[in-house]
Amino acid sequence: MRVALSLFGAFRDYQPTAQLTLDVADGARVADLREAVAAYGQAHWPTFQPALLARSAFASATCVLRDGDGIPADGQMAILPPVSGG
């Protein structure tokens, strides 16, 4: 399936368009998507820090998802680096 990822915070520095599309296997879980992002980052983002991805969560527009959760059927996801509001 195709996953459209919105990027925020420090991830915008890696990908100025703030959008990333990746293909993952049907039935993939968030952990699989995390691995796919890591592989993409290693290959395409010269300043990529795997530790930042490790501390980042994945979410739909309505909730934060855990690594064991399935990817929403609409394929719309976001990567949330550590938050710093206020």
């Binding site: 925020f8 501390r55 980042s56 979410a59 976001a78 949330l80 550590p82 938050v83 710093s84």
Partner: protein
């Protein structure tokens, strides 16, 4: 009676209105009104700051604000009004980044509700702060990972020593 109002306001569209927030949480039965106003300051960790850009995943942030308000309503009973507002975009020194107001019959629950909501917004909302410095450099602030679910906060993150400890204990 429980009511709340939440909003995200892009600085290009306007500024947060603390007076309007105060008015929203006011009620003839409320003797306690508290408000937190977060403003952009000109110095952080010894560096001269010229502004802050706030990035935000707006739909999830608004969902989170509603959940934070619902939790406060459950914790502080039926007589509570809340306002939660956060700015988005590039703010200048002195601009309002965040406004939280709470109205209750008595002061104790007004203070506690306001503090609870402020901490929850700061540490769980999908919002990212990029500081801009006078030398032209810009840095995304360290933050709280949403990968952990059990961490609770009753402490500030502005202190560098605490921030370093936090990063070690919650990598």
């Amino acid at each position: 009676m429980t009511q709340h109002q939440t909003e995200v306001l892009d600085i290009a569209d306007g500024k947060l209105d603390a007076a309007a927030a105060l008015d929203f949480v006011s009620d003839s039965g409320f003797g306690g009104i508290t408000m937190f106003v977060g403003r952009v300051r000109d110095l952080n960790h010894g560096r001269d700051v010229t502004g802050i850009s706030y990035d935000m995943f707006v739909p999830l942030a608004l969902n989170g604000f509603a959940a934070i308000a619902a939790r406060a309503e459950a914790d502080f009973g039926g007589k509570l009004k809340l306002y939660i507002g956060h700015a988005k975009g590039r703010l200048g020194i002195g601009d309002l980044a965040m406004v939280v107001a709470a109205g209750t019959p008595h002061r104790d629950e007004a203070f506690r509700a306001c503090r609870q909501v402020v901490e929850a917004v700061k540490h769980t909302s999908p919002i990212w702060k990029q500081e801009h410095y006078i030398d032209g450099d810009s840095v995304w602030s360290e933050g709280c990972s949403l990968c952990e679910t059990t961490h609770t906060h009753d402490h500030p993150h502005d202190d560098p020593q605490h921030a370093a400890q936090h990063r070690q204990s919650h990598p």
